[in-house]
Amino acid sequence: MTTFETIAKLIAETKDIDVTTIKPDSTFADMGLDSLDVAELVMNMEDELGVTIEISPALKTIQDVAALVDEQKK
């Protein structure tokens, strides 16, 4: 499973969203997630993936987050 797929699955499970609708270029706003949801997701992703994700305005899409996670795992 790629990092993107892992993140998409996590979002789908925690926010009750159809996983097939989550694309690499989906933004948090596209998925109807507010800052509270994003904070929750970040904590969940950190637990699941064993990384630290610093929230910044540069993180707009799921692919942005996946790239950050992959970078840390190198």
Binding site: S35, L36, V38, E40, V42, M43, I55, S56, P57
Partner: protein
């Protein structure tokens, strides 16, 4: 005297913050609260850098005590007002309606204590990691932007989840609320609604009268559909807004437009028809207009009596 880590760290007489309320929390009110021994807070609201700088400088002429600035993170001027804080260096910056992490580095470098308002454990943990001095755990009883959790459920969970101090907010307007907050694991309180009725609060008298007239069930939450839930007094405006909010034919843009300027109409113009009078559920506990000092001293005298009397419950 009720002392805690927050009174010691900030040099306060009482562990109370006055909430940052748009069109309400101006320099005069903030200075009055700080002069009374609490932490007054200026709201940067949706206005620009010049307004905030002017308010900070005015506050410094009215008090030599520490005060804070509240940054509303959805403001179109958020970057500018964040920079003003780093330059003017108020003792404290509180934040609301989002995650402040992008701005915290500059504030911390300026020696400011950053104390974000948090509606959940996840947000509290993220800001703790970014260097927050404390968090304000605000329950949905509060006025203005609200989360879903109640104060009584949120405060102990946040207190368990973070190592930094927790300040309780939402539904607190007397000594009973203060005593309860300490029992829930908080080391201080933030109050907004009661200060609407402070002598030094510049809101229109109609606003104060509406708060005084409010009963327990007289507030309502609108804006959930836009992910911007806010609590305000139930009025002609909120009734019209709710009709539109639950009408599928009304677009999100129309709904957004309906709310623009409504708080200003309430606070500045006292417009009872079109104004949105933000207030928390504690509005029903506010019964008089008096000075900020009188409010705070009465509140903490009551809290002290209650906390000293607590052993009577333990047999």
């Amino acid at each position: 005297m009720i002392a805690s880590v927050i009174t010691e760290a900030l040099g306060l007489r009482y562990p109370i913050f006055q909430g940052g309320m748009a069109w309400v929390s101006e320099a005069k009110l903030a200075a009055a609260v700080s002069n009374a021994g609490g932490l007054g807070i200026i709201s940067a609201m949706n206005l620009n850098a010049d307004y905030l700088r002017e308010q900070i400088r005015l506050c410094r002429t009215l008090t030599d005590k520490p005060f804070g600035v509240n940054i509303m993170l959805m403001s179109p001027f958020v970057k500018d007002v964040a920079r003003v804080c780093a330059e003017e260096k108020p003792a404290v910056v509180t934040t609301g309606a989002g995650l402040p992490n992008a701005y915290m580095k500059d504030w911390l470098a300026a020696g400011i204590k950053v104390i974000p308002v948090v509606p959940s454990i996840a947000v509290a943990k993220l800001v703790e990691r970014a260097g927050a001095f404390a968090v304000i755990a605000e329950g949905g009883e509060s006025g203005g932007h609200v989360g879903d959790l109640s104060t009584i459920a949120l405060v102990p969970q946040v207190a368990d989840a973070v190592k930094i101090p927790v300040i309780a907010a939402g539904g607190i307007a007397d000594g009973r609320g203060v005593a309860a907050a300490f029992m829930l694991g908080a080391i201080g309180v933030q109050c907004g609604t009661m200060f609407l009725c402070a002598d030094e609060c510049a809101v229109h008298d109609n606003y104060k009268q509406r708060v005084l007239a409010a009963k327990d069930i007289d507030t309502v939450v609108t804006g959930k559909r836009l992910n911007h839930a806010v609590r305000s007094l139930r009025t002609a405006f909120t009734r019209r807004y709710q009709e539109k909010e639950y009408d599928p034919a009304t677009s999100g843009e129309e709904l957004e437009a309906l709310g623009v300027g409504a708080l200003r109409k309430a606070a500045v113009d006292g417009n009872l028809e079109d104004g949105c009078f933000l207030a928390g559920q504690a509005a029903g506990m506010v019964h008089e207009i008096c000075s900020a000092e009188a409010m705070i001293t009465k509140m903490f005298a009551e809290a002290e009596t209650l906390l000293k009397g607590a052993p009577k419950w333990v047999k």
